[in-house]
C-alpha cells in the first residue's frame, strides 16, 4: 500500500518525466533546425552557404576598420579584390581585399592594385576546426579579380595596415560599384532638384550636380540594381508635417502624384553598355530612405515628365 505522500510523489514524478520527455523532443527538434540553418563549411563548394543575398548595411571601409577595431571583434568590411597575382592564394581559400582607389590614393582607376603601403584585409575561410579550406577560390561563387565584396568575420590578426579576417558571411555584388563613385570630399555647387526641375531646361546629355533626398515611392531603392529615386526639398516628407505619424514618410503619400513627379529625379549607376549595375545601393555609405545626397552625373532621359541621371559621383550629406 502506498502512503499518500508517496502517491503525490508518484504523480509528480510521472508529470515531471512527461514534461522532460516533451522538452527533450522540442530541444532536439530545435537543435536539428539550428544545425540545418548553419551548415558546416567543409570544402570550397560549401562557401556558397556563406553567401548572403542582402547587402549588409553596417559595412565599414577597410581604412575605418583598421582604426576602430581590435583582434577578436566581428566586423563587416567592404573592399575590392585587386587585379594582381596575389589576390587569391593558389592552394587555399584565402583572398585579399583592398579599399576603393579613391579612398587610398585619390585616383579614379577602376582596378585597384595594392602597393606595399596599401591597407589590405586578408580574408580566410576556415572549417569548424579553424583550418583554412584547401583549394583556390578564384572564379568561384562570384569571387574574381576586380570583384567587390562585403565580408563579415572575426579579426584574427592586425599588423600596421593589414588585418586577417576569418569570414563567417559574404555578400558579393554581381556588378562591382565603381570604386570612385562615393566621394569623401563634399561636392560644391549642387542645385536642389526642385529648383533644377522648376527652372527647366534639363536636357539629355547635360552634366548636372543635384541635391535631394531618397524617396518618392514606398520602395525608392530597387533590390539588386543600382537605381533609386531622389526627391527635392520643395516637398516635405510626411513626417515633417505636424501630427503626421506616417510609417513610410519617404513615400510622400501626403503629396499628389503630379507634385512628386515634378520634384523627382531617378538616379542610376550604369556600366559601359548603359545597363544598370546589378548591385544594391541601399546600405552603402549608410544610404537609406530620406538620406540626403549630392549626385554628379549626366542626364540620360529628360522628356518633360521623367528625368533620369547616370551618376558618376555621389556624396552623402546626411
Amino acid at each position: 500500500m502506498l502512503h499518500r505522500s508517496s502517491r503525490s510523489s508518484l504523480a509528480v514524478q510521472f508529470l515531471a518525466r512527461f514534461v522532460v520527455a516533451g522538452l527533450s523532443v522540442v530541444s532536439l527538434t530545435c537543435g536539428a533546425a539550428q544545425g540545418h540553418a548553419t551548415p558546416a563549411i567543409k570544402s570550397v563548394g560549401d562557401v556558397k552557404s556563406m553567401l548572403v543575398a542582402t547587402l549588409p548595411a553596417d559595412a565599414k571601409e577597410i581604412g575605418d576598420a583598421l582604426v576602430a577595431t581590435k583582434i577578436g571583434d566581428t566586423i563587416t568590411v567592404r573592399g575590392y579584390i585587386p587585379n594582381n597575382e596575389d589576390a587569391f592564394h593558389a592552394d587555399s581559400a584565402q583572398f585579399t581585399l583592398t579599399p576603393p582607389v579613391s579612398s587610398q590614393a585619390s585616383t579614379d582607376k577602376p582596378s585597384p592594385t595594392p602597393s606595399t603601403t596599401m591597407r589590405t584585409v586578408t580574408v580566410r575561410i576556415a572549417n569548424a576546426k579553424g583550418e583554412t579550406l584547401k583549394g583556390p577560390l578564384n572564379g568561384q561563387h562570384g569571387l574574381k579579380k576586380g570583384s567587390e565584396a562585403f565580408v563579415t568575420g572575426i579579426i584574427e590578426t592586425m599588423v600596421e595596415n593589414r588585418m586577417t579576417l576569418r569570414a563567417t558571411a559574404m555578400h558579393i555584388p554581381r556588378s562591382p560599384l565603381p570604386p570612385s563613385l562615393f566621394s569623401l570630399a563634399k561636392i560644391e555647387n549642387a542645385t536642389d532638384i526642385t529648383e533644377a526641375r522648376k527652372a527647366g531646361g534639363i536636357k539629355v546629355g547635360d552634366e548636372v550636380v543635384l541635391r535631394g533626398r531618397i524617396g518618392g515611392a514606398k520602395a525608392p531603392f530597387v533590390a539588386g540594381r543600382a537605381i533609386f529615386t531622389l526627391i527635392g526639398r520643395g516637398l516635405k516628407a510626411c513626417n515633417e508635417n505636424p501630427d503626421d505619424h506616417c510609417a513610410m514618410p519617404w513615400d510622400y503619400c501626403c503629396e499628389t502624384r503630379e507634385a512628386i513627379l515634378a520634384n523627382t529625379v531617378t538616379v542610376q549607376v550604369t556600366d559601359e553598355k548603359a545597363q544598370v549595375l546589378r548591385t544594391d545601393m541601399k546600405g552603402r555609405q549608410g544610404l537609406k530612405e530620406l538620406s540626403e545626397i549630392v549626385v554628379v552625373g549626366k542626364v540620360a532621359v529628360a522628356d518633360g515628365k521623367a528625368v533620369v541621371v547616370n551618376a558618376t559621383k555621389m556624396y552623402v550629406t546626411r
Binding site: 502506498l2 510521472f14 515611392a217 520602395a219 530597387v222 537605381i227 502624384r257 513627379l261 531617378t266 515628365k305
Partner: protein, 398 residues
Amino acid sequence: MLLPFDYAVRNLGRSPARLLLSVGGSMLVVLLILVAGGFVKGMSLSLQTTGGENNIVLLGAGSEESVERSEVEASTPGVVGASIQGVRAAAGVSFISPEVHVMLPVVVGEPGERADPPRQVMMRGVTHAAALVHDTVSLVEGRWPRPGSDEVMVGRMVPTVLGVTEEALTVGEKMSFDGRSWTIVGRFASPGTVVEGEVWLPLPDLMAATKRETISCVVFTIAPYDDATGEGAEFADVDAFTKTRPDLELVAMRERDYYGKLASFFAPIKIVAWVTAGLIALGGLCGGLNTMYAAFASRIRELGTLQSLGFRRIAIVWSMVQESTLATATGGLIAIVIGVLFLDGLAVRFSMGAFGLVIDEQVALLGLLCGVALGVLGALPPAMRCLGPSIPLALKAV
C-alpha cells in the same frame, strides 16, 4: 509491470453505448478540426499557387493591395513590350496580357428571369495573350469568347460562387450583368487557384461594360535571366524600369507575391477558423473528461483490486490512457476517412471567388494527433482521481 494491452481493449467493449459516445464525440471534434485545417490550407494554397512563377504584374502606384483599385494607362502594354528586354515571346507574340479585374453583381439566366439576388463575381477582361501568360488555365469545354458578341467563359468554381448547380452554367447557358445577357461559350480550369472562381470575357467588352478607359494591370512573363548569354530578365530589371518611367505611375510585383499578400490579408479569417476549431476541441475535451470521469468512477473497486494484485499506479494509468486513446483514435480515423472521401475538394465561396477544402497528409495528421490528444488528456485527470483513494478505501467503494 504493465497491464496487458488486451485488458484495455476488452474494457472498451464493457459498455457499447459509452464506447459509441466516445468514438462519435471524438469523430465530430476531429471532423471539425479537419474542416478548419482544410479551410485554412485550401485558402492559403489557392492564393499561393495563383500566379505564374515568372509572371510579373504591373499595377498602378498605390494599388499594390488590390488590383481592382488599380488603374494603368491602356498604352502601357506597348511601352512594356518596347522597353523591357527579356519578355518571353513565342512565334513573334510577346507574353504580355493587358487585363481588367472588376467585381460585378451577376445573376444566372436572362435579366429578370430568376428571382435570385445577384452575387459578386470576379470578372477578368482579357485578350488572347492571357492564354500565354496564365499557363495553368486550360479550356475544358467550348471555346474562347469573341469580342463584341456578349460572350463569356466561366471557371469551374463559378457555380459555387453563384450558388447554383454546374448545369446552370454549362456552355450555351446565359448569365446577366450590366443589365445585359451574356452567353457562356466556354468553361476553363486552373486547378488549385482562385482563377477558377472567375468569369473571363474579352477586354474591350468588359471595358465598355464598366465604362473605363484604363486597364487594371499588365501581366507579363519574363524569360529567366541566363548569366552565360545575358539574355532574359529578372524582376529587378522590371522594378528598375518602373523607376525610370515614374510618369507611368507603375509598381511592379511578382504575380505570386501579389496573391501571397492577399493570403496574409485573409490571416484573421484563418485565425478565426482555428480559434473556432480550438474551442470546439476544448468543448469536446470537456465532454470527454465528463464521460471518462463517469466511466472510471464506477471502476474504483476494480482499480483497487488491480493495485492489491501488485500493479503500480502508473501501469493502471497507462492502461486507462490506452483504453481512452483507442476510442478517440478510432473516432479520429473514421473522421479522416470521411474527410478524405467527402470533404477534400469541397468548394467554399469567399470574397476572392472560391476554393476547395484541402484534406492532405498534414491536415489528416493534425486531425489524428488531436484525436489522440483528446484520448490522453481526457483520461489522465479522471484516472489520477480514481487512483487517489488508498487501496482499502478503493476496495470498499460502491
